[in-house]
Amino acid sequence: MTENTPLKINTGFRLQWEPAQESHVLLYPEGMVKLSSAAAEILGLVDGQRSLIDITHLLSEKFPEADLAEDVKEFVEVAITKGWIS
């Protein structure tokens, strides 16, 4: 993956808001992960078109006070390792 590679949520994974848990969850065969709001913000922008750069850019606009670049990169790497996105 480079910073410009379009990212997509892998087949079989679904991001969804769960009112009962008051959080976003990522659903997949035999399991689910409850996501932090930051993780949900990032994954919510993964649409098969946007790259890491695009996502970081959009989030920086939304949260101008925070310095997010490193955190976003780190989360995206973890999500790729876990097989959630590619």
């Binding site: 679904r14 997949y28 097989g83």
Partner: protein
Amino acid sequence: MSKDIDGPRWLLAELTYKCPLQCPYCSNPTDYTKYSSELTTSEWISTMRQARDLGAVQLGFSGGEPLVRTDLEQLVEAAREMGFYTNLITSGVGMDAERVARLKQAGLDHIQISFQASDEVLNDRFAGTRAFQHKKEMAREVKAQGYPMVLNFVLYRDNIDRVEEIMDLALELEADQVELANTQYYGWALHNREVLLPTKDQLVRARASAERYQDEYKDQCRFIYVIPDYYETRPKACMSGWGKIFLNIAPDGSALPCQGARQMAHIDFPNVRDVSLEDIWFGSDAFNVYRGESWMRDPCRTCDHRHEDFGGCRCQAYQLTGDARNADPVCSLSPDHKKITQAVTMAQNQQPDNSVKVAFRNPKNSKLFERSEAG
């Protein structure tokens, strides 16, 4: 108990106890023929709606063989609309390419196909029917139609030495995930334990193989090796605790905290035909009886592990010690731990012996269990 209890997260809908297979480690009750009445389509839809409103999000359609239900597509569609992540847990028997496509259209998220072994002879011997070739075809079909695919292999004495062949088969079929699930000894499997329980040496070898494949093929397939609790000294945190996240609805509408609980004759399990799921989950004696820690006895009552393992498995305690409030005998701190070690020693000393008779899971044998209970 009040609403400081969370709602269920997992709903297992056992649509039917009917099944074309006869696996001797089946998780259905041994006396399943007693419960022949099945919920209707609209009763299932209402049950799923209620579970969803309580917060359930993972939904497994299981059985028996769920494909036996001709309204499966309709149930999947309804479940998907409610926002469930839908899993079909199937033997593959009763499936064809058209049905796979119809389920896809209905919104089914994923399919798990069970195999009994990696070769036709052993597979079909333990399935009690010819199924192996069809299962392979269906696995290919599931992949071809773009589903993520999980394969499930229950491991037992006769197939565990072939765990590498099993994993090779899974790779050949392009499974995304493979459960190598050592038999859990409840119901049918407990009855057949002498035939099924592997030796320690077998387990050590299988585990090493699984670890090697996990590493070598990590980019291709996720191999999950489920350890057999008989060879442990700490019990499993069964179901993450009684009435905590898991809700099982049996074909007749009985609500159970797990698949094995039905054997507990002292508990009156409520039925979704009579009571709302909300009342069942939060208010019923059946779901509250082993919730939390107040029911515990020694050694669990004061044990440091109780917050992590919840005393292990209530069904295992019940069936091996006669009282579900006892510690799971898998635990080395349990005064009944020898019941486990004795079974393990027996497995160790047992010579290959074809004279031990397997009780296959079928209506004839189930009726025998029914009768022996009544007697």
